[in-house]
């Protein structure tokens, strides 16, 4: 027993010393890096700002790979914030300084982390000279690389590969639904008609995603297609379509939306989406349909109906859980604006 405990004691003591050394070393290295970054960053930011004013200036001088790494990070941060000519100038600067070539090489690196880093960088850089390698990267075995490459191509404006991008998005829908939606959003911005077509022919999952994007992008031309699916048995799709029609402001959808609100066979979330859409469209004539929902037994539907009526300019109503809706004090009898 003594020998075991003595061994454990010595062992833990050595672990304690090792951990202390590790902590000190990590802190020292981290501090050195942070100090260097704090010293260089203002210089880089100033040089970049001066370069944006006068692109004929000579490129900043970078002495080693660490400085290059920091410079690239600073430029990437700025690229997210700038648009138009400034974005183009910074991209051109990165190309001249060889950063784009380095990143293109990393796109085909063996290490997944390097490929991911490169692809993520290109989302901000949007360099034409990376178009070819990015298109090839759409077939990368790593989904994160595919996602970032597709986003980068959207940023470049590579419209000829939009069908491929939508295909990538459809393939990612199961495991990366948010990223898939981002790709669809990007593609939809470049080609609303292609997105509308995808809505017509896509799988149920794709249709639900695209329906949402059509609403976010306010694609008015898609209103007819969205209205059609309000009668669908796919409750998710109906709810998303209703929301999107509300965002688009499609007054022609009001009769169908009113029908959904009053349809007791529909689940609550569909009816809530429909009544919210009525509120978003903003036609006071649709008020009675929302007002009838105040009588519902479903508390969230009542609450959403009250919100919608407020948006429609109706007098304030009270939706009390468990009770029937009451007109506000001072309002006329009945629920009319």
């Amino acid at each position: 027993m003594t020998a075991i405990l003595a061994t454990l004691t010595v062992g833990f003591a050595m672990v304690m010393i090792t951990l202390t050394v590790i902590i000190v070393v990590v802190r020292a290295v981290g501090d050195a890096r942070r100090t260097r970054d704090a010293r260089l960053r203002p210089r880089f930011e100033e040089e970049i700002a001066e370069y944006l004013i006068d692109p004929d200036r000579s490129e900043p001088e970078l002495s080693d790979s660490r400085e290059r790494g920091l410079f690239l990070r600073v430029v990437l941060e700025i690229l997210v914030e700038v648009r138009g000519v400034d974005h183009e100038r910074l991209t051109a600067l990165l190309e001249r300084m060889g950063f784009v070539d380095d990143l293109v090489r990393q796109l085909t690196a063996r290490r997944r982390a390097a490929r991911r880093r490169a692809a993520v960088a290109f989302v901000s850089i949007a360099s034409e000279s990376a178009r070819g390698p990015l298109i090839r990267a759409l077939g990368d075995r790593d989904p994160e690389v595919r996602i970032s490459s597709a986003l980068a191509l959207v940023a470049i404006g590579a419209d000829e590969v939009l069908p491929q991008i939508l295909e990538v998005a459809a393939g990612l829908l199961a495991d990366h639904p948010y990223s898939a939606a981002e790709l669809m959003l990007g593609a939809g911005r470049r080609s609303p008609s292609m997105l509308s077509q995808e809505f017509r022919v896509g799988s149920p999952g794709v249709r639900r995603s695209v329906a949402e994007i059509l609403g976010l992008l306010r694609i008015v031309d898609a209103a007819d297609d969205l209205r059609e699916v309000l009668a669908s048995a796919d409750e998710e799709l109906v709810a998303v379509a209703a929301r999107s029609l509300g965002l688009i402001g499609d007054a022609e959808a009001l009769p169908a939306l009113s029908g959904l609100v009053g349809d007791e066979h529909r689940p609550e979330f569909v009816r809530v989406a429909a009544v919210r859409a009525i509120g978003a469209i903003g036609d006071p004539a649709a008020g009675p349909a929302a007002a009838r929902a105040l009588d519902s037994d479903l508390s969230h539907l009542r609450s959403a109906a009250a919100e919608a009526l407020a948006l429609l300019g109706w007098p304030a109503v009270t939706a009390v859980p468990g009770d029937r809706a009451l007109p506000a004090r001072g309002a006329s009898a009945g629920l009319h604006p």
Binding site: L19, A113, P177, R208, G215, V240
Partner: protein, 491 residues
């Protein structure tokens, strides 16, 4: 006597092995988080209209002195779409009046839905203009009750629960939402809670990170580091994270509604909810994840007096015991996977650990005095236990150094290293005594509940969730928009 000594040593061995494994898992999880962070351009993500809205829910009870500043700070978070719901839980001071006056609020002719179990909401102060602030004024019912009211009223698919005196870093919401974007299975995401004592705080922001001067608060800094960087990170790696701090957690609202929200009859409502979520998802074989994210930080004031700290620790321990009592069928049950086979048994160990450790000291002392064990053995055993505790604390410090968080200076690091040693020389033992007190309170209350049930006055139950809320995905793998629908921007 020898048998007891071996039993205690066996317990210590199991405990040590568990923590070593957790530390290794934690390191792996931190690395995974770092890679995930690198893959997301936070600025680009935050400008996307697809990022789900968040309802930040803040229960407030008698917070008149800090509420205005807290709300102003929370209204300035860097997140594209969120609402701030302050739930005034029957304050007897000027909390509500301060809010109404400061933000020019007016009550609406509307009340909150009543899907979850909570005391009635007396008034709703909806958003005014571009101010995304909602105030609910309700009858007093406690923190869990207030959270349920806030969740009921929330309009966004994600709900973030924080304490009124918590200080969120401006990008905390943005960083905490990333797991939901990266993985549709994520239903809960918890960030890091750090000790704000000693930091320079102005206008609800931590401007300078520093360590507290108060010794009690200083030792709690170590505790928090261990809790988050080892325990939380480690359990997150095997999807068996049993608790997300009530001070800062992000939940999918539909899932919380499905399980009926927080229980209002337990002091460990935060842990109990997470365990209940595990139970439901595992029982229904639905893919899900409960994750810890080290980067987003919530700063909180920790107790700096023995009296308050004692109450807090005994309450926390009682809460753990209550969660075990409520979900005891999960313990060791393979039906619940890693949660049943690892997570819950470890919680049992943790709940009993103070008893075992203090009994160990007692038996060891008795054995030493009676000559049952030699002095060498006793001293080496104590030294082993203390050194192991120090190594655990140092592991947490090492992991924290590798994170991207804010680090105090070298002097503060030196104090942290010193307290990693000091903490094990009396503070730990004192906390163990308070935890035993919490256990005692638990057993006494359990006995009282038993008597009430026998008299036909069963303990309050969480409300049955109304069937009106839409069901989640069917069993099996979540696909396409099912998960994203739950996170869709509002219509």
């Amino acid at each position: 006597m020898t048998f007891y000594i071996w039993l205690i040593l066996a317990n210590f061995l199991a405990y040590s092995v568990m923590h070593v494994v957790l530390a290794v898992l934690a390191a792996k999880e931190m690395l995974r988080n770092a890679r995930q962070r690198d893959n997301w351009n936070l600025r680009l993500t935050m400008t996307s209209p697809l990022v789900p809205g968040i309802s930040v829910i803040v229960p407030a009870h008698n917070e008149a002195s800090v509420i205005a500043e807290s709300v102003r700070a929370l209204l300035a978070l860097e997140y594209p779409t969120y609402e701030l719901i302050i739930v005034n839980d029957g304050s007897t001071d000027d909390t509500l009046a301060t809010l109404v006056e400061t933000f020019s609020l007016e009550p609406a002719e509307r009340t909150a839905p009543l899907t979850l179990s909570h005391k009635p909401v007396k008034a709703v102060y909806p958003p005014k203009g571009r101010l995304h602030l909602v105030v609910l004024d309700k009858e007093p019912g406690g923190k869990a009750d207030a959270l349920n009211a806030g969740i009921d009223f929330a309009r966004y698919p994600l709900v973030c629960t924080i304490d009124a005196d918590s200080i969120l870093e401006q990008d905390a919401l943005a960083k905490t939402v990333i797991p939901f974007l990266a993985d549709p299975r994520v239903i809960v995401s918890g960030g890091s809670v750090r000790v704000a004592n000693g930091c320079r705080i102005e206008n609800g922001r931590v401007l300078e990170v520093s360590l507290p001067r108060n010794l009690l608060a200083m030792t709690q800094v170590l505790e928090y580091l261990r809790t988050f960087f080892i325990a939380r990170a480690g359990w997150s790696a095997v999807n068996s994270l049993m608790i997300v701090s009530g001070a800062f957690g992000l939940f999918r609202r539909d899932v919380v509604l499905e399980v009926g929200g927080y229980r209002t009859d337990t002091v460990g409502e935060d842990m109990e909810l997470v365990v209940r979520l595990h139970r439901k998802m595992r029982r229904e074989r639905r893919p899900y994840r409960v994750v810890y994210v080290p980067d987003p930080i919530c700063w909180t004031q920790c107790p700096d007096s023995i009296r308050v700290l004692r109450r807090q620790r005994s309450r926390w321990h009682r809460g753990s015991a209550e969660a075990l009592r409520l979900h005891w069928p999960m313990i060791g049950n393979p039906r619940y996977g890693a949660v049943g086979l690892l997570g819950m048994p470890v919680v049992v160990l943790e709940v009993l650990a103070p008893l075992v450790e203090m009994t160990g000291y007692l038996i060891g002392l008795v054995a030493w005095f009676t000559g049952a064990i030699e002095q060498d053995v006793f001293l080496l055993a104590v030294a082993t236990a203390i050194l192991f505790g120090i190594c655990l604390s140092l592991s947490a410090v090492a992991l924290e150094e590798t994170s991207s968080g804010r680090h105090p200076g070298w002097y503060s690091l030196g104090r942290v290293l010193l307290f990693a040693v000091i903490e094990n020389l009396g503070y730990r033992q004192m906390v163990h005594l308070w935890r035993i007190e919490g256990l005692w309170q638990f057993f006494r209350k359990a006995h009282q509940w038993g008597a009430m049930e026998r008299a036909g006055l069963g303990a309050p139950r969480v409300a049955r969730h109304a069937a009106a809320v839409r069901p989640l995905a069917p069993k099996g793998r979540r696909g396409d928009l099912e998960a994203r629908r739950a996170l869709s921007p509002p219509g």
